[in-house]
Amino acid sequence: MTEPVVENLEEVKVERKDVKGGSLASTFKLFKDVLKRDKMAMFGVVVLIFFILVAAFAPLIAPYDPYEMNRTEDGAIARLEPPSAQHWFGTTNLGRDVFSQVVMGSRIALLVGFLAAFLVTFIGTNVGLIAGYYGGAIDNFLMRVVDIMYALPFIPFVIILVALLDPSIWNIILAISLLTWRTVARIIRSQVLSVANRPFIKAAKVAGASDLRIMYKYIAPNIIPIALLEMAFMVSWAILAEASVSFIGFGDPDVISWGQILHTSFLTGAIRTAWWWVIPPGVAIVLVLVAIFFTARAFEEIVNPRLRRR
């Protein structure tokens, strides 16, 4: 299997040997001036911060309890009302406020997104580090495992796992982390390979530093930026995965997520009548994913100068 030059959606960026690591602080300083120049990245960061704030203060922002069956003045259930002053995104077939549901949904999305992404990046980075640094049999074995991982189609695997373990948020996070570390591992490994044979690493080895020290004190800082970049892409992937799994009915029933909202709206035929119940959750997902993507791409231009605007 030829070593593909690039990875999946993340393959939008092209990893190169001459990538320079650089300490965390300098990376963020560079990140700031890329932001000034790149309008899209600025948009990405602003939207991302907006959603993080919404998720953090969701209970305060949401005007109604998302499950509450609101009623009109004359006491009837406010069923499938189009967007109005009281209900900005209208109501569902049971009179529940769509706006509050979307706001509360942001919590789960970001929780699953960041948690799963952190887990995936943690596993992937370590596997990549070990494979890249030790090389030889270990590297070969780990990379074969990664190849097998690629043979496991993601959503079908999650479906089976959730069917076996019963649907809950933690099972979804587990399923996502079990499978998607493969991409991170491969990218980190190639990055470690390029860093590992740099002179200062050989010098440390000669000076008698233990493998662990070399790996985590010298090599790791250089790959932190790439790891963070991968984590950004993993966040968007995890959010998309959670929404998809909830949409097909394997989501956590006692939790509100954008996928769940779309699942209920799809079943009760909202796509015929209640467009306001279908559009907002979808737009929320798209906004978050696009925001993450642009932020990550701006961040990537520092980490991977090869792609700087030519």
């Binding site: 965390l24 069956m69 259930i77 069923r79 009915g249 006692d254 209920t264 079943l267 009760t268 035929g269």
Partner: protein, 552 residues
Amino acid sequence: MVKKRNIVAVLLVLVLGLIVVGCGEDEADVSVEGLTQVPEVTMYTTTAEYDPVRYEAAFMVAENWEELGVEVNVRPLEFNSLIERVFDAEEKDFNAFILGWSGRIERLDPDMFLYSNFHSSQDMPGGNNAYGYFSEEYDQLAEAQREEMEIEERQKIVHELQDMLAEDIPKIALYYRDEYQAYNHERFDNFTVMPGEGIYNEWTPVEIEPLTDDTVLEIASTQDLDTLNPMTAQTVWEWKLLRLVYDKLVRLSPDVEPTPSAAEDWEIVDDVTVDVTLRDGMDFHDGEAVTVDDVKFTFDYMLEWGVPYFDTFLNPVDSVEVVADNVVRFNLVEPYAPFITNTLAQIPILPEHIWSDVVDGEEITHPDEWDNPEPIGSGPFKFEYWRRGEEIKLAANEDHFTPPKIDGLLQVLYGHAEGVLGALEQGDADMNAWRFEPLHIEQVRELDHLTLTEAPDIGYYYTGFNLREAPFDNHDFRKAMAHTVDYDTIIDALIHGYGQAGGAGAVLSPANEFWANPDMASYEFDLERAREILEEAGYTWDSTGRLYLPEE
């Protein structure tokens, strides 16, 4: 530079520390020392895809139970696995479940809902007594009512049985739901509406007349059949079609009168013997003649192998004998009042020449493992093909004694209720197989090529309890739970007013005026009252509001 990084690290550790401390065990609660918590309640319900109303109802009821301090884990299951887990599984691993009995016309007779649901003999796997309700007194009365041939007398026993259920509360009826369906009056006419079944009953396919040259009635459905084998079919989805392919001795007319079908006539010789004369000149779809031997074979075969779904209607039959070339005699074990309407009107006539060598022919251990791919019956419709997950086609059986006026019937499967409405709206389908979602009823009213039909519900939707283990083994607990169903919100919010409230222990819908007991004990929605009952029964709560069982 280095200093800044350390500060960040310290902060992180602090935050993590706080989280860990926050969710530690709180101090011991003196009032519940030595008591055991009420075990977590697992409640099965249908998936939202299958029935959004039951799905939402489950969460509403669960929410009220949690307010009383009971942990509830609501687990939506696909319909067939739900049926298997509740009725077929040997060990019942649920505490509560939400299901519904569809209102088939035969079920106007109370025997089904009273005897087959609660008689202790019906507790075997596949039996309808999933609750594990065992009461000597109830069993005797249930048997007495089915033997009582005198209608007024039987009514008194039936009312008494309902009072007992209202007292023991093995289950709570949540709501009765009116059957709203629609048909395309520009393409077919002369539909029959029957209580409990709406327009998709035994008579409609036979009596409707095509108005255009397209003579195949297309029915849009959301649930596919599970099997074509009459010995294992156990839901309304199979029987709405199988009862057209297999003929029955008797059919119930639209105004619920037993009318002769495969049987030309019948005579009640005495309380325990009934003679049935078979109509002559009838053939199975493969041309073989229908004889009394087939009728005798069917009953012997079913009694021999056991058919859980029909067990209630078969166990009164002691033996079947052929007394003349067109007369067959049924000897009953004890008098069975609804024998004609329940047994003769439901048991399909199986062709002996096919079923006799099924077991060894197909090297299976039990007939219900045979999938009967090409069902051969003597009913008004012949089986044509079944593309599983897509559609099933029946063709008219011209030489049936009541030949249908249409040429065929095509039942098409759509992923969800949405697809059914779309098909009706765009003229792909001519009628829907099952009731409309409340939301769709208003939309159908505006479509001028469809006629909306309404029929009262003879069945009911309920939450059943598992009386074999805690917490529902305790009668007081069940009495308290009877007050946790918010009927008004269910009717108003979930079914938009198209139905009536149920009641604790209720089994017969008000539409069944003759048999339903008007003055049953009723339990209104009142969580405080429920709390009082629990308190009187010795239940206690801890500081976080979690409910504990009384001391043994």
